[in-house]
Each structure stands twice: as structure tokens, then as C-alpha cells.
Amino acid sequence: MSDMIKCPSCAENNLPDQEFCQYCQTRLQPLTDPLDGADAPIKPGQAPTKINTAELEPILPQWLRDARDSARKDDQQAAQQNLQQPSQPKPASSAKDPLAGLQSQAGDEEDMPDRLASITGVTSKPIKSRTESFAVRWVELGGKDDFAKDESDGSSSDLAGLKSSEPQPDENNEVRDWFRNLGNPEQAQQPEQSDSTDSDLPDWLTQMATKENLQPEGTPPDDSADVLDNSPVPSSDVPDWLRVLGSQNEKSKSADSADHSESSVGEPPAGIMSEEAESPSDSPKPDQDKSFEWLKSTVPATSGEEIPDWLSNDAAVPPTFTAAEDESAELKDAQSNGISDRSETVALQSPIHTESEEKSIEPAQDADTLGWLNTFQAVSAYQPENSLAQADFTPLDFAEDFQASDNMDGLFTDIPDELMSALEAPPSSLPTADAYSETIAPDDQTSWVEAMRSVDSGISKLSSNFPADQTVESSGVLAGLSGVLPSGPGFAQMSRPKAYSTKLQVSDEQQAQAALLEQILAAETAPVPIASFSVLRTSHSLRWFLAFIVFVMITIPLFMRTQMFSLPVGVPMDVNGALQVAQTIPESAPVLVAFDYEPARVGEMEAAAAPMFDQMILLRHPHLTFISTNETGAILVERFISGPLAVHNYQSGIQYLNLGYLPGGQMGIRAFAQNPRVTAPFDMSFSSAWDSIPLAGISSLSQFAALIVITDDAEAARTWIEQTESARGAVPFVVISSAQSAPMIQPYYESQQISGLVPGLYGGALFEQYNAGRPGSARSYWDAYSLGMLLAMALVLGGGLWNLALGLRERVAAWETQ
């Protein structure tokens, strides 16, 4: 019979090997395997993991937040009430009590957990008798072995994980809403009831007694366990750990009952139990009877009645209890304090306990309900002294009658298992703080319970070091609790972490620098407008005007052969050098002349070269040898001989020789300078040039009397100068250039690489003055040249200033429009 499994649905007994209920086909064996590995449950004694639950605060459900808010309000109200009732004694916390931090709140009647309130306050529920054997188990999801294992643990060890959560109503909500709702209808009546109760009795017992008084005659007394049984909430909604605890309590109760019979506890219930110890076999249900003997002793003999007499009494103070209080008042206070701290866990266990076999009525004693349970632990410390004093308790007279009543048994099923265990257990078997922590199977614990355990484990040690710490927690899941987290090393940083602003803290100077950097970057990327002007259209009229005026101003002097403008006076050094060469060459000496100018410059070049050649021919009658690196040079030579020098009647092959075109550019000049015979062996008539009269006896450049280059290109002059320098030796070198290229050739004269320079018409005019005005070509051009220069200068200045003014006006207009 002890192995029978009770179906959670139909409450029928089944064989232990059956997987499904034979009556309702409900599964009796769990489908899941025990957890292992990372998911393995926390073993008893295992160091808890400290969890900063303050981070979870934003994600808490709204109902929990509301509950916490209400808890804070309750704290405030409690504080006000404490101020209003300074005479109400508060139990001193024990340094060794793991629930010491909760004492301050446990003393408040309003902070009584809803679960406990529901147990003590719910009324008008008929008590259903439970007479099944204790060996029959209620099965939810665990197997039989699970119960056996849990039974080995101390039934009160579950308080370790719950002790800190007791004063928090939000955690009551965490247990089950339906459980809380069951107690809510009674909460409104609690303040009135608490006022009418005796201060020496626990609140829950006082309330219960008061409610019994409020109930009409004949109404069966109600208790929380019965409420659980009769509530529409299915049993599956009861948490697993709660069911397990119920089973554990049943086991522990059955096991402890024998011990209780052998030892006496120095407290009023213990006195009752001591009486039980004298006749443990009187009752066919020893566990059931023993569990509530002390309470039965407090109740008048009401056998056969629905409502016990003692419950109908407004005083609600059993005489035996009063007697015990008279004998050991201090011990009673301590007991009441210890029990009050564990009331919540006891309340959670009570439904299972009720379903198992018993109904109980909590003794309403003291308003400080949570403190009485703590006393049991304290009592265990000095049990040897108290046991002797408590052994003299006399058994109650109505105990036997009370045992005979099933209904009364049902009433007592609401007595918390923890309380029953504490009462029935011998002093040596009272659970310690470590035993509490092993009661609840870790896998049955919810996250918030485990979180509370982690903190409590630390508190259990440190609270002894800081016993006077009653700081009220203001954040986290422990908000509203006082004295839970001692302000010691390692626990001083339990407050919410400092919130750092995500906004960048920038000073004014940094902002100014950032703005400057932005401006620089913007200036780098911004397009720079290019100063553009309106397209200046070509003025054809101006062009025609210029062409006309220049043509007229130049052609008129040319055709009129005027000589208004005087020739330049003064001979520059370069021109003087050329003049010296022309005058110093030997008579009939060979002179090499290079014709390297374009036909377009023939007018200027002939006018510049003619005076010098005219003077040389007149003075020295040189033999001229012409060569050209320009394709048209050979023809220009013939033009020059037959043009400005026609008066001298030079004959080709006799007085002069035209070697024609010298190809190769610089290389041709270099080759000609090194070996003229090889490079230019023939003249224009394909005759042997070096056998002719002008070149008789000449085989190199150094044998020429003078070297004259007529060019309009500075590059050609540079080539001739540079490439022939080593070959010509000390032969005079004169360059007759155009006015355009003269500045580029001038450095060679300054460096003495050439002997003289005749720059354009200006040089020819100078040279012509020293040639008695011959041939006069420079003079014929000079008026037109001077007039054209003055006209050009006037046009450039006048036109430039005019256009400058126009341009400025346009820019001003453009700026104004912008």
C-alpha cells in the first residue's frame, strides 16, 4: 500500500508499476528524463551563483512591477504604522538566523504573504475529510524514487530558497496567480481582523479565529488547503516543487512523528507532542494525529461539531497555550518570530499537506507572524536547556476528542508542514540554515527563486557580520526588502549600475574645432567657381580697321619713298663686330655663307644682310660660298645675288658658289663642319664644288676667311654656332638675324662665340650708315618701318587701355549682378 500511486486527476490509487491511471487513463509516470549536464539541477550545498537581478528589472512583467510597487507602498504604510504604534514590540533578529534580514518586514501584518493570508483567511469552505493513508502519494510528474529522495532531505530546507522572497508580494504572484487570488478576497478584511486579535497570538491564527467568528453558525470552517482542494484551479497548476514539498512534508512528518514522541520541545506545541509521545499507537493514523495534537489541545472539545468551539471564541486563545505562555513567555515569543519568517514556505507546502491527509487551523497568535518560525531555529540552539522546562507541559484535555474528529483533522491540514515539522521534530532534528537550502529541488525552482537563493546564501554569512544592517533595497527584484543585502564588502555595489549617457560630451572648444574642421572639409569638396568672362567675340570690324590702317600707313611711305624718319644713330657692339668682320676679311678671301631663313622673312633678311655684303663686296671682293639647311635656301641665294647684290654682278662658279641644300639638320651641319668636301661635294649645277674657283684650296671650315649665317631662326643660329665651333677655329663668325631671333642669339655674342650680330632691319640700317647708305634697302624700308612701329605702339597702348576700361566695366557689372 505504501507503493501505491495516487492519480492526480481522479485521486484513485494505482499500482506503482502502472504508467497510466487505470480509472482515468491519466499518465502517472513522467515522460522526461532527469536533467543532467549543464541543465543539471543545483545540488544541495552547491555554491549559488550570484545573479545581478537589477538588470532584469526592465523586463519584469507588469504584474510583478505592480506588485513591487504595492510592496513599497506597504512598506511605507508599515513604517507609518510603526510610528503610530511604537509600543508594538519587534523581535530582535538573530545574528545566526539566515532570515534575519527579513525580520523587519516579517513583523508587519500587512506584509504577510498572500499565500499565508489565504490560508488563514479563506472561509466558508466545507472541509473535506482526508483519511487516506500517508503512504499513498500524489503524483504529478515525478516518480516514486523522486519522492523518496526528497524525503531524505530536510523538509524545511526549502525555506532557504524562499526565505528572502516571503515579504515580497510580487513573488507571491510568481508562485501562482490563482493562489494569490484566492487570498485576495480576504485581504480586505485583514486589517480589521488584525486589530481585533491578541498581540500574543500569530496573526494568521488570530485572523483565522476571527474569521471563524465572522462565519455564520454551522458554516464549516475554511482553510487554505480546502480552498485548494475545492478551487476550480486544476491540480496541475500547482507548481511541481510545491507538490514535491508537500510529499516531502508528508514523509518528514511521518518520520519525525516518532522522534517527536520521544522528545519534548520547550514550546507549547511541543508540550502537546510530548503528550503524543506517551501514546503513539493510540491513533490508527499516527502521523495524522501527531501532527496536530498540540493544536488540538488548543481547541476545545468539539467532537462531532462542524465548528470548533475554540474557533467560535472571540478570544481565540487556548488555555493551554496561555498556560504555556505563562510558563515561558520568552520562548513563545522566539517561537512565534521564527515561524513567521517561514510562514510563506509553510503556506506553500500546506496544500500538498492538506491533500495528503490533514486539515489544520493555524493558531492566531501574534501580529508578527513571520517571526515565530525563526524562533524554532533559535530554540534548536538552546534546546537542551529548554527541553527540561518544556517537558512539564500538561497534555490538553480535549486532545482525544479532537483526534476523533475527521472534520477537525481537516481543519488542521492547513497547519504549515514546516511548522508541524518544527513542532514535532526533536530539538536535534530541527533544520539548520543549510538544510533549508536543500529542500526545494533545484530543477523545480523558478528563476526568480534561484536568484533569491543566490543572494541569500551570501547574506546568510554576511548578515552575521552586519547584523544591524536594515537598509531598504530600492532597486532590483529585492526592492522593498530591508536588511536582505548587508552593506558589507562585496555587497556594496548591488545598486543599479551607473548609467552612462550615450551622448558625446563635447566642450565648447571642441565644438568650435569640429566646426572649423567641417568648414575645411566643406571647402575641400566645394567646387571652386572659375572666373569666367563673357566670350569676347571677334571684332571683324576692328580687324579690318587694323589691317586697313596698317596697310595704309606702311604702303604709303613705301610707295612714296619718303625719308622722313632718320636712321638710328650709334652703333651697338654686336653690329660693330659685324662691321669689323666685313671690313677686315682678306681680299678675295673665301667666305662661307649659310642661308637659313624662310621665304616669308626674305624682305627683312635681305634688308639686314644686304648692307654688310654690299660693303664686303665693295671692299674685299670675297668669294662667296652659299649653303643652306633650308629647302628654299638655294633659291633664296640666287634671289639675293640677283636682287640686292645684283649691282656687283657676281657670277655663279666664279665669284660665288651655291652648294645648295644641306640635309640632316644638326648632323648635316656637324658633318659639313668636319668634312665639307665629303658632305657637300657638288654645287647646284652638279659640278664638283671643291674644284671650283670660290673653293679652290679649301677643304675645311677653318680655311674660310669668315663664316656668315643669315637666319631668322635662333635654333638654326645655335646649331651653326655650336656644331662648327671646333671646326672653324678662329674664323670670324657673324650672324645676321631677324629682329625676332636676335635676343636669342645675343648671348652668343656676349660669350664671344660669334664675332658680330646684325639684328634685323635695325641692324641693317645701322650697317648701311657705315656703308655710305648702300644699297639703300634699309633706308627705303625705314620710314614704313618706323611708322609701322609707332602705329603699332599707339594701337597697343590706346587699344589696350580702352579694352582695359571695358574689361573693368564688365567685371564691375558682373560683380554687381552677382
Binding site: L542, E638, M684, M793
Partner: protein, 203 residues
């Protein structure tokens, strides 16, 4: 092939350069330079042949302006024929030179004169900055200094400013340009000798 051309180019340059320092290599230098002159003459012939072929293609395809191409080809062939047949000193060749080539190019110079004058007048309208003003002022000063008055040179300008500008400023600028040209030529020659530059097609 690239290696061969590079070797030929570097060897020719090295031999000609060595001819300046070693008289024994002067004949080799002269030989190479004569080859270069012959090749340059041939290049002129090749250029003339290419000019004739391009314009004859335009004439054959009757492209726009083919009449000018025909005129160019006719003038080229006629001048070549007259020169080869009559020789350059023939009177006909003088007429061709004096009647066609010189007036045509001289007229271009005249147009250039008007264009330059026009540009100088309009310069300050487009670019009225300091450099433009200096440019025009210098040009006007040289024009004025190059001319003479009926009574002689323009005082101070023709006798002092113009010579100073041409002999000092222009001379200094021209010398700097010539030095730069010389350095550039030297570097170009060295790069060709070392094979860094291969203008002959060796990349």
C-alpha cells in the same frame, strides 16, 4: 629586334660621342654622320612621296577640298620637274620663287602682324592683370624704342630703355632658355645612350 635597334642606337651615339674626344674615331664619326645625312635626305623624299599619295587619294575619292589637293599636287610636280630639269638657278625657278612662294609666305607674315596687333589690343579686356599690363607695356616700349623719329632716336627710350631691355632683360632670359635647352639636350642624349629612352621604337 628591339635589342638590335637598341644596340645600334647606343653604339652609334657612343661612337659619335667618342669622336669628339678621340681623333682616331673622327672618321667613324664622319661616316656615321654621312649616313645620317643620307637618311635625312631620303626622309624628305619619303615625306614628299607620302604627301603626294595622301592628296592623290583625296582627289581619287573626290573628297571635300580635293581641288586644293589637286592644286598642291600639280604645283609640287611642276616645281620638282622644273627644278630637276631647269635647275634652281633658272629664271623660271626664280619667277616661281618670287611670284608664288615669297609673296604667299610674306602675306602670311602680314596677316600675322595684324593678328598680333589685334590680340595685343584685346589682351587687357580678357586678362586685365599685372602680367598682361607688363607684357603690353614691354611690347609698346620695344616698338617705340625700335622706331625713330624724324629727328632721330626717341630720347631715353631708344637710347637707354630699349638697349637695356634687349641687352639685359632679354639677354638674361634668352641665356637661361639656352642653358635649359643645353641641359635638356644633354639629358636626352644620355638617356638615349643608356637606353632609357628609345625614340626609335624600342619602347
Amino acid at each position: 629586334m628591339r635589342v638590335l635597334t637598341t644596340v645600334i642606337a647606343i653604339a652609334a651615339g657612343a661612337l659619335i660621342l667618342a669622336g669628339y674626344f678621340f681623333p682616331a674615331l673622327a672618321d667613324v664619326q664622319t661616316l656615321l654622320l654621312n649616313w645620317a645625312i643620307i637618311l635625312a635626305g631620303v626622309v624628305v623624299l619619303v615625306g614628299i612621296s607620302n604627301l603626294i599619295s595622301v592628296h592623290t587619294d583625296k582627289i581619287s575619292r573626290r573628297e571635300k577640298g580635293s581641288a586644293y589637293s589637286a592644286l598642291l599636287v600639280i604645283g609640287l610636280v611642276a616645281t620638282l620637274s622644273f627644278g630637276m630639269i631647269l635647275r634652281p638657278h633658272h629664271s623660271t625657278m626664280k619667277i616661281v620663287m618670287n611670284g608664288i612662294i615669297i609673296p604667299a609666305e610674306a602675306s602670311l607674315m602680314g596677316v600675322l602682324t595684324i593678328s598680333l596687333l589685334y590680340a595685343a589690343i584685346r589682351l587687357l579686356r580678357r586678362r586685365a592683370d599685372l602680367m598682361g599690363i607688363i607684357f603690353l607695356s614691354t611690347a609698346a616700349l620695344l616698338l617705340l624704342g625700335s622706331a625713330t623719329l624724324p629727328l632721330g632716336d626717341i630720347p631715353l627710350i631708344g637710347t637707354l630703355l630699349r638697349p637695356w631691355v634687349t641687352q639685359i632683360l632679354a639677354l638674361g632670359g634668352a641665356r637661361g632658355i639656352l642653358i635649359g635647352v643645353a641641359l635638356g639636350t644633354l639629358m636626352t642624349g644620355l638617356r638615349v645612350l643608356f637606353g632609357a629612352d628609345r625614340p626609335y621604337g624600342g619602347n
